[in-house]
């Protein structure tokens, strides 16, 4: 219960803090809109047979990863720069729980982007996104926020030894957009890319959201999405313990 309380309060605290940030809040909403706009023009000028609804939905979800990739990857580096990392590590509360709450808060910022992109698509391009199964649609969105937050948590832990973790997070932005099939069908990618997309939670989250919007059973995809989130969290916790033990032994937590 204490863990859940810490997770919930940490999430709320960081979500409110990130919402005030020009970089993590405003830009995270605006940045995917540029790509969404380009994608709308590209599909409109092309001879693709599908409508623009799936494109608008994919472009909207791209923002969840944008909001998470850089902010979550550099979460520990940010604490280190602010001088609070040692305090967090020494605190009786579990560092993994605290870090997970930060990463989930960053992915939740992406909800703003989903709403902004769908409004943008509707008002400027006249693209209507239907919601065939509202419950499945909402579950898909919750699933993708959780799985992306969890993936961000794993990245935050994996990049803890890097002083420039933000650069590693930033470089992952386009590959995830591409490999997870947000705008491009995975079947269009080379065959060797597909297994990579299967182990990425956002792939299943996107499928679930599309099923919720355009019809189909998205619940197995939501389940897969949450299962992969659990795997990311488990791997992240194990890795964090190892990294913290090493940092304590070698006195390298601050990387100075």
């Amino acid at each position: 219960m204490r863990t859940l309380r810490l997770l919930a309060l940490g999430w709320l605290f960081h979500f409110r803090m990130l919402s005030q940030s020009a970089f993590d809040g405003f830009l995270a909403i605006l940045w995917p809109l540029f790509f969404a706009t380009v994608a709308f023009f590209m599909f409109r000028s092309g001879h693709s047979v599908g409508g623009l609804g799936p494109v608008a939905l994919g472009a909207a979800v791209m923002g969840v990863w944008t909001a998470t990739s850089v902010s979550a990857s550099s979460a520990l580096q940010r604490e280190r720069r602010l001088g609070t990392l040692e305090l967090l590590v020494a605190a009786p509360s579990n560092l993994a729980t605290m870090l997970l709450s930060v990463c989930l808060a960053t992915s939740t910022i992406g909800l703003y982007c989903i709403v902004a992109t769908l409004i943008w698509a509707r008002l400027l391009f006249g693209i209507h996104v239907p919601v065939a199964h509202p419950v499945s649609f909402i579950l898909g969105i919750v699933g993708i926020v959780i799985t992306i937050g969890s993936l961000g948590f794993l990245m935050a832990v994996a990049f803890v030894r890097s002083r420039r973790a933000w650069a590693l997070g930033a470089v992952s932005e386009y590959p995830i957009w591409l490999v997870c099939g947000f705008l491009v069908p995975i079947t269009l990618l080379p065959g060797w890319v597909r297994p990579i997309s299967w182990v990425l939670g956002p792939t299943w989250g996107m499928r679930a959201i599309r099923a919720g919007a355009f019809g189909g059973n998205g619940l197995p995809d939501v389940a897969m999405c949450l299962l992969l989130a659990a795997v990311y969290i488990g791997a992240g916790v194990l890795l964090l313990d190892t990294v913290l033990d090493s940092a304590r032994k070698h006195a390298t937590l601050s990387l100075t």
Partner: protein, 261 residues
């Protein structure tokens, strides 16, 4: 002679001092890998949309992505002096302002030129597009003019950075606007008329069109009109940026806001 020294040596020293953090661990992901991923992203979106061929996106995105080093680095070259509290000593130095600030642009242009050329080479290689040696000979001056004009826009953001804190947000917004308007991924003819007109007033648009033309066999003479417009835009943006820097400098003296971060 002193101005030349300030331009070349001062520009290089300031670049090295401000971007000591631009180690391979940052440079490779941010300026080598990301443009390649951007090319792949749009090439595949193009395939899914059935709009243009891969070459269109390789050329457009390799040049457009170079706006990142042009705009970000140029704006930080000036705004970060304030952050490090070194702007005051620079502005009270007797050095002439033109070489002092424009000298900082030269390493930025050279770096952006490398970023664009490498992205063009690597993106082409991955998507099986080969540019002939003669195409490369014609592309290099086109890229150089593009980087010059975009760095002029970066000079403007650098000047604005003397007044606002969030230069990285401003730079990102400009890079995003270039992505939409400069014809990197959507031909100007496919944009609404007013958007195409804005695109023609922005850096990179004419250079991207020129680059596409020279890779299709056009000579530099045949694209001199496009290159002339791009260079003229670069000069206008550079003059505007320099003028804005002087204005902001005077304002910061008047209101004692030079060191406010």
């Amino acid at each position: 002679m002193n101005s030349l020294r300030v331009f070349f040596v001062g520009g290089l020293i300031s670049y090295r001092a401000l971007f000591g953090w631009l180690t391979p661990a940052v440079y490779i992901p941010a300026l080598i890998l990301t443009p390649i991923f951007q090319i792949l992203l749009f090439a595949y979106i193009g395939r899914a949309a059935g709009s243009q061929g891969d070459e269109f996106y390789v050329i457009g995105n390799s040049i457009q992505y170079a706006s990142v080093p042009c705009i970000f680095v140029m704006s930080q070259t000036i705004a970060d002096e304030r952050f490090f509290q070194t702007l005051g000593p620079i502005l009270i130095s007797p050095a002439h302002r033109v070489p002092l600030f424009l000298g900082r642009a030269l390493p930025v242009i050279l770096n952006a030129l490398f970023v664009a050329a490498f992205a063009l080479f690597a993106g082409g290689l991955i998507l099986s597009i080969t540019f002939s040696a003669s195409s490369w000979m014609r592309l290099v001056p086109v890229l150089a003019v593009a980087m010059f004009s975009c760095t002029g826009l970066g000079l403007i953001t650098g000047a604005i950075g003397l007044r606002i804190r969030e230069t990285s947000v401003l730079s990102n917004v400009l890079v995003g606007l270039l992505l939409i308007f400069c014809g990197a991924n959507v031909a100007l003819s496919s944009l609404p008329h007013w958007m195409a007109e804005i695109g023609r007033a922005l850096p990179l648009t004419h250079a991207i069109a020129a680059a596409r033309a020279v890779t299709n066999g056009a000579t530099l003479g045949q694209v001199q009109g496009l290159l002339g417009k791009e260079a003229a835009l670069g000069i206008v943006y550079t003059i505007a940026g320099f003028g804005l820097i002087r204005f902001m400098e005077r304002q910061s003296r008047l209101h004692a806001t030079l060191e406010r971060v």
